[in-house]
Subunit: 322 residues, 2 copies
């Protein structure tokens, strides 16, 4: 049994064909024949060595494919896998359905070989049925990008909430769609004026290329890498409003204390989401026709595709196809 | 009708005797003969002009006294007043019992003449009965300092929570007592090794003069002015843990994004508390014998007392007495 993948052998190296023998299929594992894999900015961080020495590294954690064998699934069922592929299943977080917070969580492509491959094996609890009728290629980015924006929207916003989204890219374009579907009033912040038409199509009611001049946001999701003007964004939050950092930005947030204190505001982070959250997010996406806008590339062109993501050129998510 | 107070005429000026005519007593106001007034670091910020031009400025917002007339109170009842003296009473926040978030909230000594005086008039909703048996001089600091630490403890902690308190001063020494009374495991962080015995008496189970080497805190309350090592403190938070900023620090918090994201942690602010929270806090303090440790000074020595607070010399709160 050999799986065929693409791996970077060292930091910033080009991906090259890479074959590996998977560990024996455990009772609670499912083997998936991968048809599509989205490219997330985390893949760039990993390949570029910014998150440590995980080489040889097979990127990819926005996976859609069909079940070959194993787990509670029938062969041929279409499933997806996101950032997380396993957890201990026993700790307080796992028991509470917050597997992402488990100290023994396993990442799909950090310390394990990921989805730039023809097959993968993961714990069955982290494989999710893709709703019928949802195209595999636009479903793939939901498995990481989608749940990453959906979790804080469900945690900090509700129908009628005013939500700002900073950065209209892989995460941002999904955030606009989910915020709209949840009944929020949605504002997009982008440095690129040319994205306004797209942003409004994704669900933005308002679009600004500068920061917030004024506002009364319940929630601002930051999906951008550039350091935001925290004085301005915190000043635009309502009392008890939340600024939620989603992008793993290299620069720290410089947070003034007074707007935090006077309005009991907060700056939070959020990481992907729970299995239950992923199922709920997929169901809502199917019901409301939420889909990633993607550029499709064959997996053998993974290097060029990864580079488009690295340069923020993807409109709005690169997806590799078998 | 003339009230006798102490006022700073301009930024950083010495306080000097100041007489003013109060506005007519409104139907919903209570007039209080002030017996004690605590000194909070906010008074220093105000007198030093760091929070704007509010001069002539009568500081003081940790007031205890007896009712002269007005409101729902009987003459002679002992009441306290904190940072807030009024709110609109009609907005969504006031209706929800979150008067501190009201856009029209009125501060006791910012834009109004405060408690370094013989009398004051405030809205009756912001005067609180002092429990029988609680000394007025040690009750006074509870009205601002006490509720400031009690609110985040009630919001983010519970019995068994691990709580860290940075800075053992006016706020910190109350935070240790309330955290202990709420059943938390309490850690004190202070740069002053000599405070350990006091900190343990206030309720600290652990005491560190450095930052947190490791830890698993549910909540860290920052009452200090110095910029904290956010990498260290966020790293010492459990998943979903909260770092709560209470001191109005001049320097911003420099917040790395990764520990926020990977553990869904957050950095929050908190401002005083609601009238209901103040009543609850006073009742708990009475029940558990929680009291500020104070240095008492006559009000005519307000300048020297304010200076002790300015220099962080108070052990642990200055209180002026009539």
């Amino acid at each position: 049994m050999t799986f065929n993948a693409y791996a970077a052998k060292k930091a910033k190296a080009q991906l090259e064909p890479f074959r590996y023998e998977p560990k024996p299929l455990a009772d609670d594992e499912v083997e998936i024949a991968i048809s599509h894999c989205g490219i997330c900015h985390s893949d760039v961080h990993l390949v570029d060595g910014e998150w440590g020495d995980w080489f040889p590294l097979v990127p990819g954690h926005e996976i859609v494919g069909t079940v070959v064998t194993g787990g509670a699934f029938a062969p041929g069922e279409r499933v997806g896998v996101g950032w997380q592929r396993n957890s201990c299943g026993e700790c307080e977080y796992c028991r509470a359905g917050e597997e992402v917070l488990c100290a023994k969580h396993e990442a799909t492509c950090q310390g394990n070989f990921g989805g730039f491959a023809d097959r993968i094996r993961v714990n069955e609890r982290f494989a999710f049925r893709i709703p019928d009728g949802m195209p595999s290629e636009t479903a793939a980015p939901l498995l990481c990008g989608g749940i990453t924006v959906y979790t804080p929207l469900r945690t900090y916003a509700a129908k009628g909430s005013r939500v700002g989204v900073i950065g209209i890219g892989g995460l941002g374009h999904l955030a606009l769609q989910f915020a709209k579907a949840l009944g929020c009033e949605v504002t997009a912040f982008s440095r690129v004026a040319g994205k306004e038409a797209d942003a409004r199509r994704f669900g933005a009611d308002h679009f600004f290329t500068g920061g917030p001049e004024k506002g009364s946001f319940d929630l601002v999701l930051n999906t951008a890498h550039a350091a935001p003007d925290m004085e301005a964004y915190l000043g635009a939050l309502r009392p008890r409003g939340v600024f939620c950092q989603l992008g793993a930005a290299p620069l720290p947030l410089v947070v003034p204390s007074m707007p935090l204190i006077t309005g009991s505001r907060s700056v939070a982070g959020s990481a992907i989401g729970s299995p239950a959250g992923i199922r709920e997010m997929l169901a809502l996406a199917a019901e409301r026709g939420i889909a990633a806008m993607i550029e499709l590339a064959p997996m053998r062109e993974a290097n060029q595709a990864l580079d488009r993501t690295r340069r923020n050129q993807a409109r709005y998510r690169m997806v590799l196809a078998k």
